[in-house]
């Protein structure tokens, strides 16, 4: 069982949403995920980072942290900000609920994270920030010799 970890920090900018999902895609490439798994993970990462940019920092400046950890066949992704936080996590996670309809938000961010990943955990302290931890079990066999 081989572990592999990665930890990066980047500015809260909408340009970095694609950067973040590319980084994760690159990090897991050696596990040879299916196209579907790759698409699911990229969408979930994009949702979590977009939440940091739009909600956590309200389109203002800030830093987003992203940690990835592969252990056995499980990929864990932790995305966090030190932004405004969420008052009511349960309400925020309801499909179609959004605090920013004026910004053309669909309110489907958390619903997509839940739909595309195997596990989702959200921690938030108002005024301190939000941390989203997602897990996905990859259905591939890691070829130890190939690494």
């Amino acid at each position: 069982m081989k572990k592999n970890e990665m930890d990066i920090c980047f500015d809260s900018r909408s340009e970095n949403e694609s950067f973040a999902r590319m980084v994760v895609a690159g990090f897991i490439t050696y596990l040879d995920p299916t196209l579907e798994e790759m698409g699911d993970i990229k969408t979930a990462v994009s949702e979590a980072v977009t939440n940091c940019v739009i909600h956590g920092y309200n389109n203002g400046p800030g830093k987003i942290h992203m940690k990835c950890r592969i252990e056995d066949k499980t990929l864990q992704i932790e995305i966090s900000d030190e932004g405004v936080g969420i008052e009511n996590i349960r309400q925020a996670m309801e499909p179609l609920y959004t605090t920013k309809p004026d910004l053309e938000r669909s309110g489907m961010g958390f619903a997509f994270m839940e739909a595309f990943m195997d596990g989702l955990h959200v921690e938030s302290v108002p005024g301190k920030g939000t941390k989203v931890v997602m897990e996905k079990l990859l259905g591939v066999c890691i070829n130890e010799e190939a690494i």
């Binding site: 909408s14 340009e15 977009t50 489907m108």
Partner: protein
């Protein structure tokens, strides 16, 4: 700019770029607002032929375009969608609001 557009028979045909996320959705909003305000188009057709990635920002963008054209009595159609785009549309329940066609000719034939 990653979004191309043309006007065919009072339809605004937008060709979406390779990745439709929050960043790209903001650009599409400004393009369509400008064109709809000029009043030359009634319907919107979104062409996803080049789109390999979409997230909930794309869903939000489509819902907003739906609202805009509905006010003018228009319809919103989606063409050339890849399986991943189709899946997101299905999961979000958007297939009840938008029309899906294989290609532009099919969409135009249905609208007129």
């Amino acid at each position: 700019m990653n979004v191309e557009y043309k006007v065919v028979k009072r339809c605004l045909v937008l060709t979406i770029g390779p990745e439709l996320d929050h960043h790209e959705a903001k650009k599409i909003k400004s393009v369509t607002e400008h064109l709809l305000r000029r009043g030359v188009t009634k319907h919107i057709i979104l062409d996803f032929r080049n789109t390999k990635f979409m997230d909930s920002s794309g869903i939000g963008m489509i819902i907003s375009r739906y609202k805009e054209v509905s006010l003018r009595g228009g319809k919103i159609s989606i063409i050339n969608a890849t399986q991943s785009v189709k899946n997101l549309i299905l999961i979000s329940g958007l297939h009840k609001l938008v029309y899906e066609y294989e290609c532009l000719d099919d969409a135009l034939m249905e609208l007129y």
